[in-house]
Symmetry: C2
Subunit: 224 residues, 2 copies
Amino acid sequence: MVGSGAQLFEISATAEEEAYRHLHSALRLGRYRAGDRLIPEDIAAEIGMSRMPVREAFRRLAADGLVVIRPNRGCIVAGLTLDEIYETFEIRSVLEGLAVRLAMPHIDAEVIAELERLLDRMERAGISGSSDWVARHHEFHATIYGLSGRPKLMKQIAALHVTIEPYLRIWFDYVEKPLSAREEHSSLIEALRTGDAAFAETAMQKHILGTAPMLAEFASPDRR
Amino acid sequence: MVGSGAQLFEISATAEEEAYRHLHSALRLGRYRAGDRLIPEDIAAEIGMSRMPVREAFRRLAADGLVVIRPNRGCIVAGLTLDEIYETFEIRSVLEGLAVRLAMPHIDAEVIAELERLLDRMERAGISGSSDWVARHHEFHATIYGLSGRPKLMKQIAALHVTIEPYLRIWFDYVEKPLSAREEHSSLIEALRTGDAAFAETAMQKHILGTAPMLAEFASPDRR
DNA sequence: GATTGTATCAGTGGATACAATCATACAGCC
DNA sequence: GGCTGTATGATTGTATCCACTGATACAATC
């Protein structure tokens, strides 16, 4: 008995990569709270390695903006201030607007049908109560952006999504079954159906900027 | 005698930070070429430390997209393909367009005057032949974006500038004294003078997308 | 009693040593 | 003759160890 289930087929990555993924996912899921100190030795023990690869993972997480490293004073979980949340959504609006604009030439009836299926799955995931609605939501957006054929752009967008994901979860868990989401994304599909790239870009910008205020409201008290 | 000149006032940062800055600047200045292998021991010896902090600096540089780390196969200098250069300029166009739009409310006659001074300095730096024209050019743009009061946005833009800086240098060194730059940036100032945020945003987008092709032309042969 | 100085302890950063991995070259086999 | 397998060397990745920084608590002095 070496491992169980999927781990048997897991290609053994480097310890650093493992530590990075572990922390990245934990941070995304909101397992730690902003301001928490991440003690290298504890995390190393948790996943069975020494402090060193964990430290290296910290550097990458810091570059992602997920943690802050202060020399000689350890690694703390980064939180977003209210201003930073708004700023993130402003950046998202132009980046994701661009992605949609560039994706437009590749959007046809088949893609629209696929998006509608994803929208249904997203809604079901939301009803089941579990917060993997967030994952489905990201999938919906990423499917559109993927059609732009711009890998760097997609990476940047994904990184921003990770940053705000904990807040998105809090918001979703607080407001049970946000029905507005269905309407919002349906009208987004409508915008895509027009075939007008500039219109779709603007629609996406508005969609994103419209989400910011309600999210910020819930992020404010707890996190700085 | 501990050190010489400015180093006396240099607050001794961590070794990792020192290594990061050293490599960051070397990469920006195009001291290494795309595909070159960075040997941790050589660099460590160069700045008087062990391999360890250098390795940690590599992680951050990889996150910045300046190098690529392949497990067990070392760290190589990242180069941009033609497609990636264009993509970077597309991203820059919307990001820097946003920055200008948000900066507009804070742009007055005094700022315009300052920008004209910077434009003069930029031109002089260009004539003197030295490629610190690039630094002045960045300063000009950064001055505008700084007025937006969006730190995260500025960081992202700065990171993209670093990525393309080696190509910008090649371009500048090849085309002696690009006179078009003066005209280009003057008309950018004109756009700011109108006070129309949407117009200024579009002007910046066009300015950036207009630069891409001539840069890409020179980047193509050498770097992948 | 409050504030400042000092000592101790916890925790981080860096160096060295060791283990594991990959590339290259050579030999054997098809 | 070309290909595959293996062995060796170079290089990366990980762990342990040591030094130093920063925090906290206690004591001494004002």
